[in-house]
């Protein structure tokens, strides 16, 4: 890390030393303070999409995504409260309702970050009716599969493809609930000429949306991959 000025903040009542340029999440991580995350991944840019890492900042009625909010001197942050737990639980319920997630027939069952978070926050049922629209499953690639029925639009795959592999094959089309991860210009995966078949998208997918066919899911996943590659590049 380059020389940068020190910032004093308080997280959950504990004084923490952070640096200018830190986000609340990176400062909390360095101080071993747990904030739940879903779309965030060490080594990738922050996306601020999932809203799981929201925190309270003293003096503001708003909630802030800790992965994109920079620290400032004197900031007092609360990472766990009744209100935050309520909103995190609600957010998880909405993510689970947006697509027909069926854990018992999913390749990621038992290795799924969404499933783990639902357990952690006690999301024991869905309060809104589920969206049943069937989405496409692209099985054209030799071994990579993307099942849009399970995609939570966290954009980890897009960021890994662009920032780590450097090819930017994957991107997002449309907006809101119509958003969908696309390959090249919304083509079949098999017809992509820019995809290097590196599997990084499958490694970072927190759910069972992108996976390697005929491989146990526990072998595909690698949450440390992006961090490792960035550290080797000296970034």
């Amino acid at each position: 890390m380059s020389v940068s000025s020190v910032v004093k903040i308080k997280i959950d009542g504990v004084e923490v030393t952070a640096y200018e340029g830190d986000t609340i999440l990176s400062a909390a991580k360095r101080a071993s303070i747990y904030i739940p995350t879903l779309c965030y991944l060490d080594g990738l840019s922050s996306y601020g999409g999932c809203r799981l890492c929201i925190v309270e900042v003293k003096g503001s009625p708003k909630l802030f995504p800790s992965c994109t909010t920079p620290v400032s001197n004197g900031m007092e942050i609360i990472t766990n409260s009744e209100r935050l737990r309520k909103f995190r639980k609600l957010t998880l319920g909405l993510i689970l309702s947006e697509k027909p997630h069926i854990c018992s027939i999913c390749v990621a069952n038992g290795h799924c970050e969404l499933q783990d978070l639902a357990k952690e926050f006690g999301v024991d049922h869905l309060r809104v009716e589920r969206e049943w629209t069937a989405h496409k499953i692209d099985l054209t690639h030799d071994f990579l599969v993307i099942d849009h029925n399970r995609c939570i639009l966290c954009a980890r795959c897009i960021r890994a493809c662009d920032e780590i592999e450097g090819v930017h094959v994957l991107d997002m089309k449309m907006r809101g609930k119509d958003s969908q991860v696309i390959v090249d210009m919304d083509e079949d995966w098999a017809s992509s000429r820019s995809c290097t078949s590196c599997r990084k998208c499958a490694r970072v997918c927190p759910v069972g949306a992108i996976y390697v066919r005929d491989k146990p899911f526990s072998e595909i996943k690698d949450k440390e991959m992006a961090k490792f590659i960035l550290s080797r590049r000296g970034l």
Binding site: P100, H101, I102, K119, H125, W132, A134
Partner: protein, 181 residues
């Protein structure tokens, strides 16, 4: 809430599910004897009772609502039950029973697949059984559910925990315990 001999009236129901949750319920092994001290089983696939009785204290329901008979039954159950517990992913979210919901004419499509396309002899769609609903539904889309125990199936340990809490008049805390799938 006391029934016969100071025990609570207890019922279990099996709708569109695989009975795995009932298996998991029985999987409490000898600990089920503790439960048996406190409950009077009044209706269940584990016993011979044809009609769902009135004045049931606690009913545990496995499975999604998949056909017209189940739709009528669950409304009757709700009317006659004080505390209704959805057990297992099918009852809680619909689970794989609801896979047909994503198809156009889901009920028709799966009947055609099961009874016509894959039949080797005398293909015909049965008409003497309850009619499938166009969409399978988790319980809380149709009736009010008081407690949920997700899992496919939920562990015997979790079922025991939730039932013990409820029978003792406490509210179970599902944080860190309930897992889908």
């Amino acid at each position: 809430m006391m029934g016969e001999l100071g025990k609570i009236n207890f019922a279990t129901v099996w709708l569109s599910g695989c009975s795995g949750c009932h298996m998991s319920f029985l999987d409490q092994d000898e600990q089920i004897l503790d439960l048996a001290q406190k409950i009077q089983l009044v209706y269940s696939p584990l016993m011979d009772a044809k009609i769902f009785p009135e004045n049931v204290d606690v009913t545990v329901v496995e499975g999604a609502i998949g056909n017209e008979e189940q739709l009528n039954l669950i409304k009757k159950i709700r009317k006659h039950t004080k505390i209704l517990i959805a057990i297992g992913d099918c009852a809680v979210t619909g689970n794989m029973v609801t896979l047909r919901n994503a198809l156009d004419d889901g009920a028709g499509a799966i009947l055609k697949r099961a009874y016509i396309e894959t039949a080797t002899k005398n293909p015909q769609i049965p008409n003497d059984v309850p009619k499938l609903l166009e969409r399978a539904r988790p319980l809380n889309e149709v009736i009010k559910v008081d407690y949920f125990i997700p899992g496919c199936p939920p562990s015997a340990h979790l079922i025991k925990y939730v039932l013990t809490e409820i029978i003792s008049g406490r509210t179970p805390n599902m944080e860190g315990k309930a897992k889908y799938g």
